[in-house]
């Protein structure tokens, strides 16, 4: 029992590695927030392309469906490697894509953000689509009958309702994205998992990884509770509408 405790919960290892692990966790948070925000926008763009009705948008619709299928069908790790291991070696590409070093961050940082955004954009597109489909057609009809254009009906009537219904699944996917940021360590980003592993390699003790897990939980548990509360809170509203 003591051996077990020492392997995972060694206070000395934890306190000595605390700063390093926290720094790694800060990287995890940054990647999550930036990629999370970008994929929320990208996912919405994809969903709007996918749900468009007019025949003029057909090519865009086909492209969106293909994109979503492909990126939901391949592992994130593969996307990470395909981007970081290829872009720098394609001569024709502009410098800011081959070696992006925006805002003083290294290129691998942006490759990681790009991979997460590309993949999670596809997931979130499906979430938004479900939300858009859940808005009754009568809402658009009422808006159109008041003289609103398709675009205005979407913006003022359909989208606000769609987004409201998908807040819980969006938060769930954000939790998943946050955990998946640990995959980008393979291209050399020192996130919380990488930091913990380095300590593990030096000390043959896993407590730094446990510490990382605890840091994750500090953020993900309240988020999960928030989703619960949101879902519970909406029940009475739905009953009132029924």
């Amino acid at each position: 029992m003591d051996v077990f405790l020492e392997q995972y919960f060694d206070i000395t290892v934890m306190s000595e590695s605390f700063d390093k692990v926290l720094l790694g966790f800060w990287m995890t948070i940054q990647l999550s927030l930036i990629a999370g925000a970008l994929s929320m926008v990208w996912g919405l763009v994809l969903a709007l392309c996918r749900t468009s009705r007019s025949w003029m948008m057909l090519p865009l619709r086909v492209a969106a469906v293909t994109y979503i299928d492909v990126f939901r069908g391949i592992p994130l790790l593969l996307v990470v490697l395909l981007i970081s291991g290829s872009l720098p070696f394609i001569p024709g590409l502009p410098e800011w894509i081959r070696a992006p070093e925006l805002f003083g961050r290294p290129d691998v940082y942006w490759f990681g953000v790009a991979a997460l955004t590309l993949t999670y954009g596809a997931y979130l597109a499906e979430v938004y689509r479900a939300g858009l489909d859940a808005v009754p057609p009568g809402q658009t009809e009422a808006a159109r009958s008041l003289g609103m254009s398709h675009r205005r009906a979407l913006r003022h009537v359909v989208l606000p309702q769609a987004v409201r219904t998908v807040v819980p699944p969006l938060l769930n996917d954000f939790i998943a994205l946050m955990k998946d940021t640990s995959l980008v360590q393979v291209i050399g980003i020192v996130d919380v998992v990488r930091a913990g592993r380095e300590v593990q390699g030096e000390t043959f003790n896993s407590s730094a990884l446990t510490l990382g897990a605890l840091m994750f939980l500090v953020v993900t548990l309240p988020l999960a509770r928030l989703v619960d509360r949101y879902l519970r809170g909406r029940q009475p509203v739905r009953k009132a509408l029924a």
Binding site: G138, Q139, E141, A142, S145, L146, G147, R152, Q161, A240
Partner: protein, 252 residues
């Protein structure tokens, strides 16, 4: 109605055809709505009444035939022109279709502001006076979900009126309501008719059709079987199908 008003047709539908796949829902419907007139459309479920109204508002595309507003054909309008025409035609739906995420007041101001560019204050003033007219001034800041069905439907009528339409279309607006809530909605419509609004009313409320309309149309299987002044249609219908329908709904 003066003779002059009778000559000016506000809305004209000519030989309208519409099919959904193999199903022919409208098979040559004609309709003339003089300015200021109230036309009631009655008929069994599935006879194409809703489809007719939806075609007039271009929520549904007719396959053939012509629709004209003030003599101007609107059947082939697109884009902005279509939006502009829809603004002139108000529609009230069976299921209210209020915007549940916005307050009652916002429901009335939204289209005024984003479509017509009315400033907020002016839009709200207009909204409040309309809510007052339908007896719901004190509900301005409620969400629609907190209102009874009858109140929601009155808000929906006020919302359509906020755009200052020239014609109002009503599609069985009391059918989803509990019986005791029907009267308030019908009262609002009656006052609107008295105020000179041009109205096309699809309804199962036979007393309303009889008392308020200038003309009653009986539709069955995609055609207008019979039309005439309410007294004649209700007391001495010319067609067997009309007689059977009225028998069924008046003496259930």
């Amino acid at each position: 109605m003066t003779g002059e008003a009778q000559n000016a047709s506000k809305l004209t539908v000519t030989d309208l055809h519409k099919r959904f796949g193999a199903l022919e829902v409208l098979r040559g419907v004609d309709l003339v709505v003089p300015a200021g007139a109230v036309i009631s459309i009655i008929g069994p479920s599935g006879s194409g009444k809703s489809t007719l109204l939806r075609c007039v508002n271009r929520l549904e595309e007719a396959d053939a035939g012509e629709i004209a507003l003030d003599g101007m054909p609107i059947t082939r309008l697109r884009g902005r022109d279509l939006d502009a025409v829809r603004r002139r035609i108000g529609m009230v739906f069976q299921q209210f279709n209020l915007f549940p995420h916005r307050t009652v007041l916002d429901n009335l101001t939204m289209a005024q502001r984003v479509v017509s560019g009315v400033p907020r204050r002016a839009a709200e003033d207009r909204a409040r006076s309309l809510l007052d007219r339908v007896g719901l001034a004190e509900k301005a800041h409620e969400l629609p979900g907190r209102l009874s069905g009858g109140q929601q439907q009155r808000v929906a009528i006020a919302r359509a009126l906020a755009m200052d339409p020239e014609v109002m279309l009503f599609d069985e607006v009391t059918s989803a309501l509990d019986p005791e809530l029907v009267t308030d909605v019908l009262d609002v419509m009656r006052r609107l008719a008295e105020g000179g609004m041009t109205m096309v009313v699809v309804t199962h409320e036979m007393s309303f059709a009889r008392d308020v309309s200038d003309e009653v149309l009986f539709m069955d299987q995609g055609v207008v079987v019979e039309r005439g002044d309410p007294a004649t249609v209700f007391t001495a219908p010319a067609h067997e199908r009309t007689r059977r329908f009225l028998d069924r709904v008046l003496h259930p």
